[in-house]
Symmetry: C2
Amino acid sequence: MREDADAPVAEGADAVPEVRDSDGNLAHGFREAIRAAIEARDVDRLRALTGDLHEADMGDLIEELDGDERRRLIEMLGSAFDFTALTELDETVRVGILRGLSPLTIARGMRDLASDDAVYILEDLDEEEMAAVLEHLPAPERVALRRSLDYPEDSAGRRMQTEFIAVPPFWTVGRTIDYMRETADLPETFYEVFVVDPAYRLVGSVSLDRLLRTRRTMLVTQVKTEHLKGVKATDDQEDVARLFERYNLVSAPVVDDAGRLVGVMTIDDVVDVIQEEADEDLRALAGVGSDEELSDSVAYTARSRLPWLVVNLGTAFISASIIGLFEATIEKMVALAVLMPIVASMGGNAGTQTMTVAVRALATKELSSHNARRIVSREVLVGLFNGLALACLLGLIAGAWFANAQLGAVIASALVMNMMAAGLFGILIPLAISWLKLDPAVASGVFVTTVTDTVGFFAFLGLATWWFGA
Amino acid sequence: MREDADAPVAEGADAVPEVRDSDGNLAHGFREAIRAAIEARDVDRLRALTGDLHEADMGDLIEELDGDERRRLIEMLGSAFDFTALTELDETVRVGILRGLSPLTIARGMRDLASDDAVYILEDLDEEEMAAVLEHLPAPERVALRRSLDYPEDSAGRRMQTEFIAVPPFWTVGRTIDYMRETADLPETFYEVFVVDPAYRLVGSVSLDRLLRTRRTMLVTQVKTEHLKGVKATDDQEDVARLFERYNLVSAPVVDDAGRLVGVMTIDDVVDVIQEEADEDLRALAGVGSDEELSDSVAYTARSRLPWLVVNLGTAFISASIIGLFEATIEKMVALAVLMPIVASMGGNAGTQTMTVAVRALATKELSSHNARRIVSREVLVGLFNGLALACLLGLIAGAWFANAQLGAVIASALVMNMMAAGLFGILIPLAISWLKLDPAVASGVFVTTVTDTVGFFAFLGLATWWFGA
């Protein structure tokens, strides 16, 4: 029962259904076809379905299967399973799969991987599991992987690929091209060729387009680019990402402390770093751990989010105790209790706006000491202007609601004060945290809302007490 | 008075100081040397200082100068000024500089630009200014730029470079390489060569490393890669970025509706899109407009942030009116007014945690209909567990503070309810907004905090009224 390729794909049909739907998500039909093949233990059908699958699609597919199906999929594919797909998974899922495989199977699967992918997979395992896998690898690979794993986490040395092409300075363009044609074991993809001296110190690099448009008789040193600033293996990956972004790089040589070429960072790794970095800022601002993943369990997620909520509970008690100072006033005038959250909430929002802009500008190095003064005064003035505009609105409505013009005036004044405080502390707090060499994204939020809550309640209830008498 | 290159650079010295300091910021000494040269009208010194400057460094330098210095810098550099640097600037700064230049000067500066950079600069101008610049360009360039500008904003057609190398299918690898050696007017950088049929429809592409490792006699069609999914010129740049990220692309052909090759998107543009996109999510969540820049004026910034604050004022009134329902209870028991912001604030924070995770997971397509149910129940359970943990703490402290165990029990119960509501609505709201094909980052925050404030006040004050009597 063969189906026409254009006909809608019936379940269990032999045709390979579309992998992705029009929104770019993994197609329902494809996932179900895979599930059916796993269920039916139909190895041929499964291999036909996944034969041309890109590692990224395979990764997404694995994430959508349940634990048992994942295990059986990898088992049934055997040597046809490309371990590169594991680099596309959430850490939790990846570690879960690796724990279900024997060290020998992992070592076999890793033989065809680029070194950076192999390191990426290995670094999630604990020391003992890692050693068991490395044992099954040939000595040269084992030594190279060990060396990469010795670099600190999140360093260029961890992310770099140790496969690259390096030629001596006296080679011509023609000889370099011939070398590439004749050598079977070249890196899977590469964008430049490096020029090194006899001690393997980096002299420069030649991009492939440069190589292709130059006469064969030219020396590589004549067409090389010198790198103003090489990437050191110990450099933090975020600094490397900043360099790639700033100078629009596609690949960059990585050198050790002695200036010797040890690897190459490529843009695909950097894109992941940029994505992660922005994600971390976003999560940190919301009080979510940077390593939380969608596949995490309830218990793990709850535990990882709890600390920030406890901190917030502490700061909430600070605001509550401010309100407690004015119990007598509130007892006389309950309208204050009704209105007070408005002042605090508006300040919190304005403070968050300023803080978000500040945190991102600090991360991208747009905000630094040379322009800090201008931005601080801009933020305070923005707070003043928006405070005045909103105060008119709030004062009128609150005054009308409780038929009390004086109450309207009091809340309007308190709002202006709190909006200015929001602008001032919304930028000073991240600046101060970054001057202390800490990450402003992580801690700014707590401090800013504590300030705006405290100032908000104190200004409003204090003004009211002073105006109407305790 | 010549200084040694290694000696510390004195102001006004002839040596070129380091461009960047150890933190990667533009070095103070370099900026001041530029300022001094501008002040002294010393064109030779200025050209010596900026001769080797990368466009990104020039961009950062221009941002740190004031308006008058910017104008004089560009004037003094004359034809030595590389207009590519303008693409590295904030839009406000760029438009400010362009408005100060004659259309002829802009047109001259744009002649050497890659087409995507030219479009990037032109698209900020209004129709009339744009027409004036285009008029001064040679007809072929003018037509090509017009065509790119006709594509919708933020589409691949706007971002693509129209310079690329395309060869017919019957060419050999050798002929293709020879063609590149002999042609002077090649794109500035390129990573692949495209194969097109006589109607210029895309047949496939050959990466440069593939070209270099293949025998000269092979036909390009024998080594080409077929693109599973070409990028259409009308595709949104964010969809293109997702494709580059997923499949680790460095460049991709762009085709028109008829499948004809019209340009190429490269990774450097995509990196900017990824960065912008993450930034937009972050700002949207905080209620800051996506086009706000650090160089914007007080008035502009205040105006752009006001709308969201007005919306927040409206929602604050909703919470206030909930409190208003329970005035009588509060009057009898002021402790409620002191404690009530705690319940609301905890819910707000928990809701923001859930919402942030949901918004990013939706943006990266990790969260979709197939796993939504699991994530919703996970979030509600996380809310329940953290709610129970925090409720014990809060109940004890609040009960002890007001020497009222029953009050402690009431606030503890209200907290658990609000934490569960935070988990539930923290994910349902972004999901619902994305099902409506709107951007969940923009509107989720308002709705989520409105829900957590409302539920928080209602649960706490309602329970207290029921328990203690009105």
